[in-house]
């Protein structure tokens, strides 16, 4: 249940729009069913009042949109950032992907976002609307006369169950109280897979990755994937593929993508959130994060602007690959 309401954000955004501090607002727009919220740019108070929403389904990380939205912008854009979004925001600033001067960032608290697939798994299909009541979601469906109460905590997204931080690392203004970095167990699942045999690990990944329909949703939502031209679309990269004769990209898309964002991925979890096939893609990114933490010291991408990622730095005393793997096994 979000502690801050959409009305407060609308009020704030309207004031900033009216005063001319910002020329537009990046926010969530309500959809047909309440849970199908989409990112949108609002340029008037009327639009805000009509369509703006902030609820338990506002998972989208807006940082990425700033790259394209600030380019031709006159004045500033207002963006609302949940704590995990602020890490991506900083990471993109480190990579000079947008002009900080063109953004007015408001940090907003987040109580965790709901994974609609978990709700569907509980109440079934045909959801017509979702309301909130205390710690419960009241889910109305086409088939039930009375709304079904679902415990909010039981349908939280995986990334929110394992939330790494309630602290905003970047903002111009903060609404609500500042939180802290949270002790979490987000690497437990990675560790569990690591402990399997190679055959089991391969079976696990084959099962997951074989479901991929190559829709590119993960890439399109990922705030680390803001390249001017994606390697997968670039014939000179050697990993491009539009012809069935070349199966490299087809087979290894997710591995290539995970390596590409390694060290830059803030573990925001957008890839897994948007995957229509529910592939736990974050487990690939987290593997890189976990390894680099263990081998080269704790590193949280986006914690500060201008940090040097583990893969673009080194020490002369770094472990050899074999040593690193053996040490991880013994420590586990």
């Amino acid at each position: 249940m979000q502690k801050i309401t959409g009305d407060i954000l609308i009020e704030k955004a309207s004031a900033l729009l009216s005063s001319g501090t910002v020329s537009c607002v990046l926010g969530w727009k309500k959809g047909e069913f309440g849970y199908d919220v989409t990112p949108a740019v609002f340029s008037s108070v009327e639009e805000l009042e009509r369509d703006f929403v902030y609820n338990d389904f506002c998972g989208a990380n807006f940082s990425k949109y700033l790259v394209s939205k600030t380019r031709k912008l006159e004045g500033k854009i207002l963006v609302f950032l949940k704590p995990c979004d602020t890490y991506s925001f900083n990471q993109l600033l480190s990579e000079h992907r947008f002009d900080r001067e063109k953004v007015y960032a408001i940090g907003i608290p987040c109580e965790g976002m709901v994974d609609i697939s978990k709700v569907k798994a509980t109440v079934g299909e045909g959801i017509s609307s979702i309301d909130t009541d205390g710690d419960n979601l009241l889910v109305s469906t086409l088939y039930d006369e009375e709304p079904v109460a679902v415990d909010f905590k039981s349908v939280l997204a995986e990334r929110c169950i394992n939330c790494k931080s309630k602290k905003h690392v970047a903002y111009d203004e903060l609404l609500g109280e500042e939180g802290d970095v949270i002790e979490n167990s987000r690497f437990d699942e990675v560790a569990r897979i690591e402990a399997l045999t190679p055959d089991e690990r391969f079976a696990f990944w084959q099962n997951e990755l074989s479901r991929c329909i190559r829709c590119n949703a993960c890439r399109d939502a990922c705030p680390a994937c803001t390249c001017e031209k994606c390697v997968f679309d670039n014939p000179a990269s050697g990993v491009e593929n539009k012809s069935p004769a070349n199966s490299f990209e087809e087979k290894l898309f997710h591995i290539i993508r995970a390596y590409h964002v390694a060290g830059r991925c803030t573990d925001c979890g957008e890839c897994s959130r948007v995957c229509p096939q529910n592939i736990p893609l974050h487990l690939l990114n987290r593997k890189f994060i976990k390894d680099m933490n263990e081998f080269y010291g704790e590193y949280q991408a986006g914690e500060e602007v201008g940090m040097r990622a583990p893969l673009v730095s080194y020490t002369t005393e770094d472990l050899e690959p074999g040593e690193a793997l053996t040490r991880r096994d013994t420590d586990a």
Partner: protein, 664 residues
């Protein structure tokens, strides 16, 4: 599509003995792009090369694959052949079927099979080759030497001797550096001043050399052959060109209690000062932190006594911009601070001194006019304890000392001990050491003389504690060989402090994009093969800024650096390696990953305007590689997330094509 010619070499029986060369030539005929394929006994011979040239003309070849020995052997040869035939020399690829095939495999069938695969990989690569032209850039025929110690002096003299202009930038009011503070030099015991000061005069009188003393480098831009350097000349409040160095101002200056840096604070100087009698330039400098005229506007005596009218209280710092073709770093060293070594009571007793202080104490121009007297009471010390490795080889105490060996201490301590015994035979001299390291010409002989001829007592072991008690220094030490504790009542304790790079080196390295190790010593382009060059092209290293060194080593390195500079400045144009990185600006995100990993600082960023499909323009930050600076390692190509960065001659697609050919 390329028109590729394949030339399979027998290398006599070297290749043909284990590889069926005809089968290789035949097999490669059907590879994509191949229009001609043949074999010959010695491809590298005149006849073999002529065969290639003829084939290029007859078959209109655009690319050549030579299946032969290692490219490290004959790639250059075949590139020249290609050029002679009118092809771009970089349209040649070599398949190494000798060192990496025929010589390591015994079976004809497997050797042939592998040779065909290696040939296919080379064909696949050459199909994607593009003509490359090395870039050219002009060379500014002037060198900059940063640091005016013996390293900088020798480098400048050698460069000037070859006829090139050199500027020396020295942060102190005079050149001379540490060597000017030394008394005698090991192992010959000739006096430091006698061999250094004539060189300083040579520098001053050399028409090719300009000295910017009391100055520092504040900005460096550009690249090899074309550096733009900003030099800050600090205001010395004395007109350098007018001052005659007569010293009248020094005599009359009322501020006489300023600690004298040249004598390490063991005596005083005036607010207007000349560091020492043989200073170059011999010009007075006013210390703005001590002069009452500059601080409070009262006094002005120096101005009144200066008959030349050289004093100028209104002087301001001046910034000079100069162009250089090469830069030599000679920023030298300093002894580390003894603050953290209080077990030796350095801060508690004036009679615990560092070796450099000892050097001044025994120097005829020093605070005691060369008489070895205790700083505390001016008495002659009868028992002296020298402690070696204070802060050197200090693995356990890395936070206060250094892990490395300072290299010069063993020898100068032997020198100090020997000279003391020579001049004052009634003095007992102890040296405590971990090891005595004497790997230089006549070094061990020198050390043995100290022990055998002069009776210096060398004790293997460390001093644990020094406690001042009355007018004595109680020294507690261990003798590791006799395995016992020693207690010595000493009159003077001399600490061989570790040496570290000058503090100015780190910011300078950043300006130069020259790399440093964790101890702030500059790193060489190659530790064995390019020891006086920095990895950054056009930046050279001289003296202790690269690592601890004694004078002979410094001078030889200075000469070596000078010869490298001369070799560079003698060229009118620099021809680069064309296999360099380049960034596709349409794809570049401007994220800085490439610049982060570039060891040469070859990558800069520019805001560029791009036309969009909808006829608007947008400005984006994009990477630009300076081909004159890039050395072609390819680190950036992998760091680049968007794949905008690629390496000419070893492009992503070329290597992928090789992989595909091998794995087919």
């Amino acid at each position: 599509m390329q028109r590729v010619g394949v030339f399979v070499c027998w290398c006599g029986s070297n290749i043909a003995g284990t590889v069926d060369v005809q089968a290789v030539a035949e097999a490669l005929k059907s590879e994509p792009g191949v229009v001609f394929s043949t074999d010959y006994q010695y491809m590298c011979s005149q006849a073999g090369q002529d065969m290639i040239k003829t084939a290029v003309k007859e078959h209109n070849l655009t690319g050549i694959v030579v299946c032969s020995c290692s490219p490290r052997m004959h790639e250059a040869t075949f590139r020249k052949t290609a050029a002679a035939a009118g092809l771009n020399p970089y349209m040649v690829e070599i398949a190494n079927i000798r060192e990496q095939c025929s010589w390591v495999h015994k079976d004809m069938a497997t050797g042939t099979e592998k040779a065909i695969i290696l040939g296919k990989a080379a064909v696949a690569k050459v199909n994607l080759n593009a003509p490359l032209t090395p870039g050219e850039s002009p060379v500014t025929k002037r060198a900059l030497v940063i640091g005016g110690g013996i390293a900088g002096i020798q480098t400048a003299l050698d460069i000037a001797d070859a006829g090139f202009e050199v500027d020396i930038v020295e942060k102190n009011p005079t050149i001379g550096g540490k060597m000017a503070q030394l008394d005698k030099t090991f192992p010959t015991l000739d006096c430091a001043a006698c061999i250094l000061t004539p060189k300083m005069v040579d520098v001053a009188q050399n028409e090719k050399i300009r000295i910017f003393s009391y100055s520092e480098v504040t900005d460096v831009k550009g690249f090899v052959g074309n550096f733009d350097v900003t030099i800050k000349k600090n205001a010395r409040y004395v007109k350098e060109e007018i001052c005659t160095g007569c010293g009248a101002c020094l005599e009359k200056c009322p501020m006489k209690k300023i600690p004298n840096e040249f004598n390490l604070g063991m005596d005083n100087r005036t607010a207007i000062y000349i560091p020492f009698a043989q200073a170059v330039p011999k010009v007075a400098t006013i210390d703005p932190t001590a002069c009452t005229m500059l601080k409070k506007g009262k006094c002005g005596i120096c101005s009144k006594v200066c008959t030349a009218g050289a004093i100028d209280y209104t002087q301001k710092d001046e910034y000079i911009e100069e162009k250089y073709g090469a830069i030599v770093v000679a920023t030298g060293f300093n002894p580390i601070s003894m603050d953290k070594f209080d077990e030796f009571a350095y801060s508690q007793s004036k009679d615990v001194i560092t070796s450099l202080e000892f050097e001044r104490l025994t120097n005829a121009a020093g605070p005691s006019a060369g008489k070895l007297l205790r700083p505390s009471d001016g008495k002659h010390p009868h028992t002296i304890v020298f402690v070696q490795c204070v802060g050197s080889r200090c693995e356990a105490c890395a936070e206060k000392g250094k892990e490395y060996c300072s290299k010069i201490c063993c020898m100068y301590t032997a020198k100090h001990a020997m000279l003391t015994r020579d001049k004052y035979p009634d003095t007992e001299v102890y040296v405590f050491y971990i090891d005595v390291r004497t790997p230089g010409k006549n070094f061990d002989e020198f050390y043995r003389r100290a022990v055998e001829e002069f009776g210096v007592k060398y004790i293997k072991g460390m001093v644990g504690k020094v406690t001042p008690e009355g007018d004595k220094l109680k020294v507690q030490a261990s003798d590791l060989i006799a395995n016992k504790q020693l207690h010595i009542d000493a009159d003077l304790v001399v600490l061989a402090a570790a040496i570290e790079p000058d503090k100015s080196a780190r910011p300078l390295a950043t300006m130069l994009t020259a790399s440093m190790d964790t101890n702030d010593f500059f790193t060489e382009a190659h530790p064995k093969l390019r020891p006086v060059e920095s990895p950054t092209a056009g930046v050279f290293l001289s003296g202790a800024c690269q690592g601890p060194k004694d004078i002979p080593e410094t001078v030889s390195q200075a000469g070596a650096a000078a010869s490298k500079v001369i070799g560079l400045l003698a060229k009118d144009k620099l021809t680069g390696n064309p296999c360099v990185a380049s960034s596709d600006e349409l794809m570049c995100n401007g994220c800085s990953s490439c610049a982060n990993v570039c060891p040469y600082g070859a990558i800069t960023y520019a805001e560029k305007e791009f036309r969009m499909p909808d006829r608007t323009t947008k400005v984006r930050r994009v990477a630009e590689v300076n081909p004159a600076v890039c050395q072609g390692c390819g680190a950036c190509t992998v760091a680049c997330p968007s794949g905008a960065m690629d390496l000419k001659g070893f492009a992503n697609l070329q290597i992928m094509a090789e992989v595909d050919a091998i794995c087919k």
